[in-house]
Homo-oligomer: 128 residues x 2
């Protein structure tokens, strides 16, 4: 099978993408990002709505930090976290390559529905 884009895709920022995708593969971490998208918060504030320990949330935040998705600022005794969306942009760019495939699938589905509708109309008018 031909694989001209193979190495290109593999080598394109591969470690960064690994970390970003692994980071957002967890619902708690996605929820933390959604919360930080509203406003920056301390670790304690982030942890409040979750039914898990502060320690567990801290670990999730660390995974997000390592992926570059969360930046932490130490202001006095407070650790303030904010969203950094830049790595998500790279993830989106990777996915963008596949857009043509799902667009194609939707096009094919649309054509199928239209041809079925036409077929039905044809059947009503004729005896075959």
């Amino acid at each position: 099978m031909p694989q001209p884009i193979f190495n290109q895709v593999v080598e394109y920022n591969t470690e960064g993408l690994d970390r970003v995708f692994a980071a957002v593969a967890d619902p708690t971490r996605r929820a933390i990002l959604a919360a930080l998208a509203q406003e920056p918060a301390t670790v304690t504030e982030i942890a409040r709505p979750f039914p898990v320990s502060l320690n567990a949330i801290s670990k999730h935040i660390l995974v997000l930090e390592r992926a570059g998705l969360v930046k932490r600022e130490v202001v006095g005794r407070e650790h303030r976290c904010r969203l950094d969306p830049a790595p998500l942009r790279k993830a989106s760019a990777w996915l963008e390559y596949y857009r043509k495939f799902w667009d194609l699938r939707l096009d094919a589905l649309e054509r199928h529905v239209i041809s079925r509708k036409k077929g039905k109309r044809g059947t009503h008018g004729r005896s075959d």
Copy 2:
């Protein structure tokens, strides 16, 4: 902190997204998807360019299958795999929510660059 979109984001197709993001968090699996985007292939054909065992590739394909990204058809004694891009569309839709944040960042950067340029021009013309 206000979290109106919290549960909405957490509950939106959470298991599906977990599996898709975890599946594409690996460079070998991303390379397999890139190969299948070119044309369907048997497991042996997929494994050929990789410096790892057929067994390792089989496991990667299984992860992709569980995420719904690869469909397998058994034709005679052959297992033919093809890309199913539909779950990537859902991943892209999740990322889409964050587009406004990276767009904002780029806008801010652009404004910063423009205002610096203007500042420089101003300095050339005047003595302040």
